[in-house]
């Protein structure tokens, strides 16, 4: 109540200021005049009466001031006064204001941009009701180091029966889907989901309905839910879409619903959803390929659900030891699961821009101190006129706030530009883990506002308190530069040391990231990515359910592509290298026991004949797959060098037979050995791999790799047409050169390295300005002394050394602190680096050298000025 009244009083004081002033004036005047009248009435002559009345009343203006104070609105008025004064003061030194504002804007802008990413990715709850109850379920094999493994369908069904911690569980199986719209086949990312999927997430369609339980049964599953975006793009937001049929995978599907705009499941691209008709049949017995999401019951804790899942996994392991022994299950909160890979890099980036802002603060604080030296007299005069220390501090803090808010305004512009260019560093093919848009919204603005306030406090308080402590006597005397400034100079040196140390810390981080990135892209992937274009096809199960038909279809497409002018070679592989996809399976040498869950595991890749040639992977021994390796022939395999080294070192593996868990009943015979190539990602060394022939173990999807004689982009269109010639309903997607696949695969380390490099660059620039400022100030402060030295016969070189020594001392001190800090923080970067230790002496040495060099360079200009001092002028100056 009282606060509200006070605020109202302040507001009315601000708005009706002149009105209240005139009322106060007339009230006081009335008093005086009434008194004069009374005195005149009692016989005093009028002029005397007026004098007496005024005397009795006391100071008229002072009374008014006291009244304003008493009314409690003086505070606000004073604030306004300070604000106006502050604007005027800053306006009078536009150079200083501009430097300070730009410095702050860089810091605040960088923080705003990075925070908007951190907020959208890590901090914001997932856009589902009660998101903390959402979890992902994985299989895991801890003793082999497999965590977060995709799930076997039968196990999923058993979990659903054997656990009681969850309201519901849903499985997802992703992939490209062929949608024929307006006669054109297009590949649409589609996900097959258990019918419960949408209700677990708690999101309702904007149009129509989600799946019913009955639609999760084979034979009733020809229904589809569209994403808003697909509905908009392909169906023109047709509100009559529900109930209509669309051609999916060559079959008619009925549209039952449309999801709201922006609906997405973390880390999964999807534009349409169809039911996943899981059942306890032979079809769903083998393999691990499902993603699983579940909603915990309200009262269940994460730990309880984990125990529940482990118990369920044990039941499975006992029931099906061949398949499940050694396997367990893991529960991960959905948000953490989705952001696992980006969390540390993002926090590192946020910490980096935090350091950058600290540097900016130190710089502006130094500027304020330096300028403060010139304002000593002003402060002294104000305090001589009766301004209290609090009032002076307030005045100075308001100036800082003005700077900070101007910095914030400019910083938001920087942030908007920065964020846009930052987002272009993220390739389309490697999407962020969460689909929500990244933007500078209310939350981010609140962060920026708070950060600006804190910033103002950080850079403003120390100078304000320091300056308000001015010694009146000294400052009013003429030789004011020496008066009380000495302490500031020490403070300023501390700030500069801190700045340079932080800049070093950032530069070490950037240097390590850069070196790590350079190492990474210098890795030989084992194949030749030049002149190769790749594209994805996904086969409609309805048309190509038959294994023979499926393998012949891919062969047919490949031979058609090989006929396209400009094509040197064409082949297929089921998982394209460097797209973070790997597939493992178990095997045993033939003749022994059948492979089980405990058998050795190798990477399995399904390739067509000519794959190794098309990718430039040398054949080391034996032969490639050939036409004769057809469906009815002896199953054959090719293994890589790592496989031979691991399981048959020094032996001739050609002709050896293996029992594999993949698909065959019969053992496969090794017919060739190829050199190692990296598969899932560039960071991981080649693993043991068994290649199977596409003609004998065809998949429902394939990546075509087409080697061109010249520019691979020129044959892309021809190759796509060749595919359509084989089946006009076959959609082709992800047409990219292998070069860009390679480049996209390192986009996240590149993103980190580029950003850190930018921030480190800014940090060093600011630190250099700081060193320059403090050294030039020393020079101007010591002009006198330098003059005397020169007059006494010192040479220019001695003077320059004197000045440079200061910069060097500051830099060396900063290096020591910065190095200690970067060693202390080295563990933070460790997991982000590739083949570079966070204490890499080469990088540390180089960065130290650079920082030392630029610090000394920053002092060169002031040093030149010092040597140019005219002794006579310098002495006269005093």
């Amino acid at each position: 109540m009282r606060t509200w009244k006070r605020i109202r009083a302040w507001l009315s004081a601000l708005l009706n200021r002149s009105h209240m002033e005139s009322q106060m004036e007339s009230e006081l005047r009335f008093h005086l005049e009434a008194r004069v009248e009374d005195l005149v009435r009692s016989g005093t002559e009028r002029a005397g009466a007026r004098r007496q009345a005024q005397m009795e009343f006391g100071g008229f203006e002072r009374t008014k001031e006291e009244c304003r104070d008493a009314r409690g609105v003086n505070f606000v008025e004073g604030l306004l006064q300070d604000l106006r004064y502050g604007l005027r003061v800053l306006g009078k030194s536009p150079g200083f204001a501009a430097i300070a504002v730009v410095t702050l804007a860089l810091g605040i802008g960088a923080n705003t941009a990075i925070f908007s990413v951190v907020d959208a990715m890590l901090l914001r709850p997932l856009p589902f009701p009660e998101p903390t109850r959402l979890v992902r379920l994985w299989e895991c094999q801890p003793n082999r180091g497999y965590f977060r493994n995709v799930v076997n369908p039968r196990n999923f069904l058993d979990w659903r029966d054997d656990t009681n911690s969850f309201e519901a569980m849903a499985a997802l199986a992703g992939g490209m889907t062929n949608l024929v719209a307006h006669g054109q086949p297009i590949a649409v990312p589609g996900v097959r989901v258990s019918p419960e999927f949408f209700s677990i997430l708690g999101v309702r369609p904007v149009l129509g309905r989600a799946f019913s339980a009955g639609e999760g049964v084979a034979g009733h599953d020809r229904v589809v839910v569209l994403s808003y975006e697909l509905w908009q793009r392909q169906f023109g937001l047709d509100t009559g879409i529900v109930g209509k049929q669309v051609n999916l995978e060559g079959l008619p599907y009925t549209v039952v619903g449309v999801m709201p705009r922006g609906f997405s499941f973390p880390k999964t691209k999807a534009e349409l959803w169809t039911p996943l008709p899981l059942a306890r049949t032979k079809d769903w017995e083998d393999g691990r390929y499902l993603s699983v999401v579940a909603r915990m019951k309200p009262a269940v804790t994460l730990e309880q659900s984990r125990q529940d899942m482990r118990r369920a996994a044990e039941i499975n392991a006992k029931a099906r030891p061949d398949f499940d022994e050694g396997w367990s299950a893991e529960v991960e909160p959905m948000l953490e699961d989705a952001t696992k890979d980006v969390r540390r890099p993002l926090w590192v980036l946020l910490a980096s821009v935090g350091f950058l802002l600290l540097i900016a603060c130190a710089n502006v604080a130094n500027l304020l101190l330096m300028r403060g030296a010139g304002r000593m007299r002003e402060m002294a005069v104000r305090s001589a006129l009766g301004a209290g220390r609090g009032r002076i501090v307030r005045q100075l803090l308001i100036e800082s706030l003005l700077l900070s808010f101007a910095g914030m305004a400019a910083g938001l512009i920087f942030a908007a530009i920065g964020l846009r260019s930052l987002l272009t560093l993220i390739p389309q093919s490697a999407p962020l883990p969460r689909g929500e848009p990244i933007a500078i919204d209310a939350r981010v603005l609140l962060f920026t506002f708070t950060a600006s306030l804190l910033t103002a406090a950080l850079f403003g308080v120390v100078p304000a308190v320091r300056l308000s402590r001015t010694d009146l006597q000294n400052a009013l005397k003429q030789g004011l530069l020496q008066g009380g400034v000495g302490g500031h100079q020490i403070l300023r040196r501390c700030f500069v040391v801190a700045e340079v140390a932080l800049a070093l810390l950032l530069s070490v981080g950037a240097g390590l990231m850069l070196r790590s990135f350079a190492r990474l892209v210098a890795v030989d992937p084992g194949f030749d990515p030049e002149h190769v274009v790749t594209m994805q096809i996904s086969l409609a199960p309805s048309k190509y359910e038959d294994n023979l038909k499926r393998s012949q279809y891919i062969e047919h497409i490949l031979s058609e592509v090989r006929n396209v002018p400009g094509v040197r070679a064409a082949a297929s592989i089921h998982f394209l290298p460097l797209t973070e996809k790997t597939s493992g399976s178990c095997f045993e040498p033939a003749g022994g026991p059948s492979p089980t869950a405990q058998s050795p595991v190798s990477e399995f890749l399904i390739v067509s004949p000519g794959y190794f040639e098309a990718m430039g992977i040398p054949m080391m021994k034996g032969r490639d797959f050939e036409e004769r390796d057809n469906f009815n022939a002896q199953p054959v395999a090719i293994v890589n060098h790592a496989f031979v080294e691991h399981y048959f070192p020094g032996q001739d593996v050609l002709g050896k037979q293996l029992q594999v868990c993949w698909t065959f009943e019969k053992p496969v015979e090794i017919v060739g050995v190829v050199a190692d190539a990296r598969q899932g990602e560039l960071q991981t060394p080649p693993t043991d791999t068994i290649f199977l022939a596409n003609s004998q173990a065809p998949m429902y999807f394939a990546s075509l790799v087409v080697r061109a004689k010249g520019d691979p982009r020129q044959i892309a269109l021809g190759a796509e047409d060749a595919v359509h010639r084989v089946d006009p309903e076959q959609a082709v997607s992800d047409i990219r050169t292998m070069r860009s696949v390679f480049s996209d695969s390192v986009s996240s380390p590149r993103f980190q390295a580029v950003l850190l490099l930018v921030f480190a660059g800014l940090a060093v620039a600011l630190a250099v300005i700081g060193v320059y400022g403090v050294v030039s100030y020393t020079v101007s402060e010591r002009t006198n002394e330098i003059g005397i030295r020169l007059a006494m016969g010192a040479r220019a070189r001695d003077i320059a050394r004197l000045v440079l020594r200061e910069a060097l001392t500051l830099a060396i001190l900063a290096l020591a602190i910065g190095l200690a800090a970067s060693l202390a923080l080295s563990r933070v970067l460790e997991t982000l680096l590739f083949e570079v230790r966070p204490t890499d002496p080469g990088t540390l040495g180089l960065v130290c050298g650079v920082i030392l060099a630029v610090s000394v360079l920053a002092a060169v200009l002031p040093a030149r000025r010092a040597t140019g001092v005219d002794p006579m002028a310098a002495l006269r100056y005093e």
């Binding site: 009244k5 009230e27 008093h31 009434a34 008194r35 009374t63 006291e66 009244c67 008493a70």
Partner: protein
């Protein structure tokens, strides 16, 4: 006329509240009424009256409105609010107790101590 007494610190507020508890008054009127009741024995710095009035109003113990004075001029009249009445009561009680205590101390004779 005896020399006027200087106002004790903190008593002006109480005197103002008392003065207008007898009926709304403008600033000058308050001064006159206090002087009249005290038979001119108190010395009040006239200017200091107004900051006190503004403070009391800010605290909600008195209210004000513009009206017409005896000689047909516009003047600001102050009146006591309900909170002000309570305030005056507690202030007066406190003052009376204080006065009694102090009087008791000053009356003390050597044998009573």
């Amino acid at each position: 006329m005896d020399k006027q007494l200087e106002l004790l610190q903190g008593t002006l507020d109480m005197l103002i509240l008392k003065a207008i508890s007898l009926g709304p008054l403008h600033g000058y009127g308050i001064l006159l009424r206090i002087q009249q009741i005290s038979k001119d024995q108190l010395e009040i710095q006239q200017g200091s009256l107004y900051p006190a009035l503004y403070r009391l109003e800010d605290q909600g113990w008195i209210g004000s409105e513009w009206g017409e004075s005896d000689n047909k001029r516009k003047a600001k009249y102050y009146h006591l609010t309900v909170a002000g009445k309570r305030r005056l009561q507690t202030e007066a009680d406190k003052w009376n107790r204080m006065a009694e205590v102090i009087e008791g101390i000053l009356r003390a004779r050597p044998e009573e101590v």
